[in-house]
């Protein structure tokens, strides 16, 4: 194996200083993705800065009434937190739909957002991949892609973001906090991931050396009636082939507010703004739910073997929103 330098940071500014501007250094959270990538040779960092023991492991009320989630909160703790379960149930469900109990005990919120795609070309160093080796090509477009992107992809990369947690966070307008040598800063999660375009290897808008310190959930009444549904190729321990995080506020049979985000269809958690606009003020019926899904999915550009995802997402949107509407009517 390639030798690497391992450092453990005592505080946030110390972690940022330890990493510096070294492009071959990486922050290490739970290691549930990075260590795998190091074993398979996809990542070969010269230095690891372990941030898992930083004092960022709390979930606290934010000043505006929302919740601030520390970057090193584990997936297990996040899913078990009463405030998350009661006020943002789709987030707890999304976290529990991911990985396994053992992995959730190790994995952290910050790491979850920065995990890499599980595209089988990306994870296999014997094959080309524009994300891993810029300019080497994307074999998925002509090759295996039945689980690849239908929204927002380009001919240079059709990989999907693997996170479940991120889909729910996106639906709830989460804001990412990070720290650089210049101090603390914030970025809406919606702006964290860069468009694929011609640079699939450039994945986030974070400045070099930035350390994610937390994620803030703004207060959102609509989130209390929310749900996450994930479809995968086995009942557990698999990444989604399609998922939906949805929240619905219905009054008098009419949608007052809707939140909708898709997983496993794009290089990032996909906020379905177009669908939300169609839903707002519309009757809370399956017909309108389908129309909203269709409006969002009109932008889909499926490849020969992943067109089913368009049908899947449409069906999921209708099913999940219908369940939420029924709940609201009770």
């Amino acid at each position: 194996m390639k030798e690497f330098d391992y450092r453990r940071a005592d505080d946030v500014s110390g972690a940022v200083a330890l990493l510096g501007d070294d492009p071959d250094a990486r922050y290490l959270g739970g290691g549930t993705n990075l260590v795998d990538l190091m074993k398979s040779g996809v990542e070969r960092p010269a230095r690891l800065v372990d941030v898992r023991t930083l004092p960022l492991d709390r979930i606290e009320p934010a000043d505006d009434g929302g919740l601030r989630i520390g970057a090193t909160v584990t997936n297990s703790d996040l899913a078990a937190h009463p405030g998350i379960r009661n006020r943002y149930p789709a987030l707890a469900q999304a976290v529990l739909a991911g990985a396994s109990g053992q992995l959730r005990n190790m994995a952290t919120v910050g790491g979850n957002l920065l995990q890499r795609t599980r595209c089988g070309y990306f994870t296999d160093v014997s094959k080309p991949c524009n994300k891993r080796v810029p300019g080497s090509g994307c074999p998925a477009v002509e090759g295996e892609h039945h689980n690849h992107a239908v929204l927002g992809a380009s001919e240079h990369c059709v990989a999907v973001h693997p996170s479940d947690m991120g889909v729910a966070l996106t639906a709830f307008d989460a804001v990412v906090s990070y720290e650089t040598a210049d101090g603390a800063a914030e970025l809406p999660l919606a702006d964290l991931y860069l468009p694929v375009g011609e640079t699939p290897h450039r994945e986030t808008a974070l400045p070099p050396g930035a350390l994610i310190t937390g994620v803030t959930l703004p207060p959102a009444r609509v989130a209390a009636r929310s749900r996450y549904r994930k479809v995968r190729e086995r009942a557990s321990y698999a990444f989604a082939i399609g998922s939906v995080a949805a929240a619905l506020d219905v009054s008098g049979g009419v949608v007052r507010e809707a939140r909708l985000a898709f997983g496993a269809v794009a290089s990032r958690p996909w906020r379905a703004h177009t669908a939300e606009r169609v839903l707002t003020g519309a009757p809370a019926t399956a017909e309108y739910f389908a129309a909203a899904a269709d409006a969002e999915l009109a932008a889909a550009r499926p490849l020969p073997d992943n067109g089913y995802k368009v049908t899947l997402m449409r069906n999921l949107v209708v099913a999940v929103l219908s369940e939420l509407a029924e709940e609201a009517a009770r």
Partner: protein, 710 residues
């Protein structure tokens, strides 16, 4: 000297009673050592380098820079490796898979072909150097596209004739009231056992010793001795604990390259395969395309049966996945034709994998029968009972026993089959459509020559020595029970030692024949020992040992159709709006000879049925056409059923002792998977009204096929 005390009175009854694994405590506490973790002094570590092209020639192996890396001892490749002898037919009656005969020439016949072994002081150093090793290739166009219409397909025998044929097929099909004519496909599937292949080789006083993880030390000795031109007595192979085999753990590149390196360096060398390397070096179940034509009278009696199967093999080894063999045993018809064909592609060599032939073949045959039952308007179980043959449909030989009907009747009773509404797509529970399905199972019951030794020790205990392999089956425990009964002593007084070729030749753990073959030898030796011990007599310090060899007894067996049978039942729930399929319950009833240890037997049968769920819904290795390698060749990309996919599975059996076996055993290693995938697929049809003829039944396939909108 102590008193000999075998029980002269009534036999004990260890066989047939549940017994936990005799080595269970060692395994759960970690005391049991596996091949890759047994310590050796002065051990060096080898790391295989695999080709990155799918066809071509190695032009150069740039060893210079790598030899300067820390700890690197040598780099073996086709330019410097010892020459091997490969022109032989081995213990299993086939020539060697040349994938194991590493570094003999510059040809690259598939992606992931071994081109070099880097040996270093530590595993980490070897791996780093292996990954740094530059190999240049002359690349040639490759063909990895398996399809039913491939022009290079040809009939091939393998372990059975390629073709059997009787009657006028077209005439009988034309005269049939109901005809099914469909194509079924199964994908490339991998063994995926928990323990990777691992071997350590060393020379010890002029003898080659290999500590390995395999399905038969006799098998590995035989092939290593032939390859390296050694006398078999000059090779010792040990394999005490094995974390799964399923057909994959014979002679592979890891043992051969370890022996080469140990020979060159004259120090012990260990080679362990990575999970990714296993996907191209250790065999797999070939994909199949199978066309089935069935013709039947209005009452469901078969007039015509045509089963043609095609599988892929490599350019360096011919392996036939004999899927068309199923109907040669299971179903007769006036016109009966079965044919196995293969096509050689630029792909890794496939091999035996749990129920080779029967697993994919039963999916096609039993799914087609379900379609025929639908067309005839006959209950699918009843259709099978109406087509029970009197003797072997092809051989004409009598069955030693055929208790399939008993399995179906008992299974139907326990599953609640009689209440089944035959109409598809009419049961709904929330978003789930519900359905049930059934299928028949069979697998050959055989035994192969084996030797065993049983020793009466001076302390009143007994030691059994046999080069059996316990690949997780519980064979070590089963043989202990068998020996205890044959000696008529309590189980606690018997110690069974296995996995050492110095114990003498024996059958491998394979073909569902291991336990039966070994139990025969153990019974023979123990029985003779019991007779030799005089009650109240004395045992000398070295003990009294009796050896057995079953070769003659087996040769004297009458020619019969000898098989295990079973009936599989499954209930599934399908959400056609998302494509999700969940198996809700499964029941398998088997007629599989006398069950030695109900505890581990149930493990094996439930394990086989779980494989069936996995085969039906999950498993699929995807070959990337451009590179010729696999896409997602790891256990994250290659899905096996997770715990959440496996519901309450019940496996049980009917009384079915084999009359010609001294213990009554038939063998249970493989029959559990047979028919299981078909039962699930047939249940999916019953739930949705849609036939899924291509495995696995993935969500996208279910979604695109649709279903009833109730």
């Amino acid at each position: 000297m102590t008193t000999a005390t075998t029980g002269a009175a009534a036999p004990t009854r260890a066989v047939g009673t549940a017994h936990t694994r005799v080595e269970g405590r060692d395994k759960v506490t970690g005391a049991a050592r596996y091949a890759g973790e047994i310590p050796f002094a002065d051990l060096a570590h080898g790391w295989l380098v695999l080709s990155t092209v799918a066809r071509g020639r190695v032009l150069s192996v740039e060893t210079g820079p790598v030899l300067d890396m820390p700890g690197v001892l040598t780099v073996l490749h086709h330019g410097n490796a010892p020459r091997l002898h490969t022109d032989y037919v081995g213990m299993l009656g086939v020539p060697p898979d040349l994938t194991a005969a590493v570094f003999q020439n510059d040809r690259v016949p598939h992606a992931g072909w071994p081109v070099a072994l880097v040996v270093a002081d530590t595993s980490e150093q070897a791996r780093e150097a292996a990954e740094a090793l530059v190999v240049t290739y002359e690349r040639e166009p490759h063909d990895v596209a398996f399809s039913a219409g491939h022009p290079d397909a040809y009939p091939a025998d393998g372990h059975m004739p390629a073709l059997t044929e009787k009657g006028d097929l077209e005439a009988e099909l034309a005269a049939s009231a109901h005809v099914v004519d469909e194509e079924y496909t199964t994908p490339e599937e991998h063994h995926g056992m928990m323990e990777p292949h691992a071997a350590t080789a060393r020379w010890d006083g002029g003898r080659l010793e290999v500590v390995d993880s395999n399905q038969g030390t006799t098998w590995v000795v035989d092939e290593l001795a032939r390859m390296f031109s050694l006398d078999a007595s000059a090779v010792r192979v040990r394999s005490e604990h094995v974390g799964g085999g399923f057909g994959s753990k014979g002679v592979r590149a890891h043992q051969v390259s370890a022996v080469m390196a140990a020979t060159v360096l004259q120090r012990p060398v260990r080679v362990v395969l990575t999970r990714r390397q296993m996907f191209s070096l250790t065999g797999y179940r070939s994909p199949t395309t199978q066309r089935i034509r069935l013709g039947a009278d209005p009452d469901g009696r078969l007039r015509a049966l045509d089963h043609r199967s095609l599988n892929q093999t490599s350019t360096v080894w011919e392996f036939v996945e004999p899927s068309a063999g199923v109907a040669r045993i299971m179903y007769d018809a006036d016109a009966h034709r079965t044919e196995n064909r293969v096509v050689r592609l630029d792909v890794p060599s496939p091999t035996w994998m749990r129920a080779p032939g029967e697993a994919p073949g039963s999916f096609a045959v039993e799914a087609a029968l379900d379609e025929l039952a639908e067309k005839c308007g006959i209950d699918p179980m009843e259709l099978r009972l109406r087509n029970e043959p009197d003797g072997g449909p092809v051989s004409g030989l009598p069955f030693s026993s055929r208790n399939l009907a008993a399995c179906f009747r008992e299974g139907a009773r326990r599953f609640g089959w009689a209440d089944r509404d035959p109409r598809p797509g009419v049961r709904r529970e929330g978003r789930w459509l519900l359905g049930t399905g059934t299928a028949a199972a069979s697998f050959p019951a055989g035994a192969m020559p084996s030797t065993a030794a049983v020793t009466a020790e001076p302390d009143g205990t007994f030691t059994v020595r046999i080069s059996a392999a316990d690949i997780g089956t519980g064979a070590r425990t089963a043989l202990t029970l068998v020996a205890a009964d044959a000696l008529r002593v309590p189980v606690e007084r018997v110690r069974t030692r296995i996995g050492d070729s110095d114990f003498g030749p024996a059958m491998i753990a394979g073909g569902s024949m291991g336990t039966r073959s070994w139990a025969w030898a153990v019974t023979a030796a123990a029985g003779e020992l019991r007779e030799r011990l005089v009650p109240g007599g004395t045992v000398p310090p070295e003990g009294i040992t009796v050896r057995s060899d079953t070769t003659a007894a087996l040769a004297a067996l009458a020619q019969k159709e000898r098989h295990s049978f079973g009936a599989q039942f499954a209930e599934v729930a399908v959400d056609v709006t998302t494509g999700e399929v969940r198996v809700r319950r499964m029941l398998g009833i088997f007629a599989a000879g006398r069950i030695v240890n109900p505890l581990t037997a149930r493990n094996q049968l439930v394990g086989g049925m779980t494989w069936g769920i996995s085969m039906a819904l999950h498993e699929e290795a995807v070959r990337d056409r451009a590179s010729g390698g696999l896409y997602g060749a790891d256990l994250a990309g290659y899905h096996v059923a997770s715990h959440a996919d496996v519901p309450a599975i019940e496996a049980d059996w009917v009384d079915d002792p084999d009359p010609d076996d001294p213990v009554g055993i038939k063998g249970i290693g493989e029959v559990g998977i047979v028919g299981a995938a078909a039962a699930v697929a047939n249940a999916v049809w019953h739930a949705t009204g849609v036939r899924h003829r291509n495995l696995p039944i993935r969500p996208d396939r279910v979604l695109e096929a649709g279903g009833p909108r109730v």
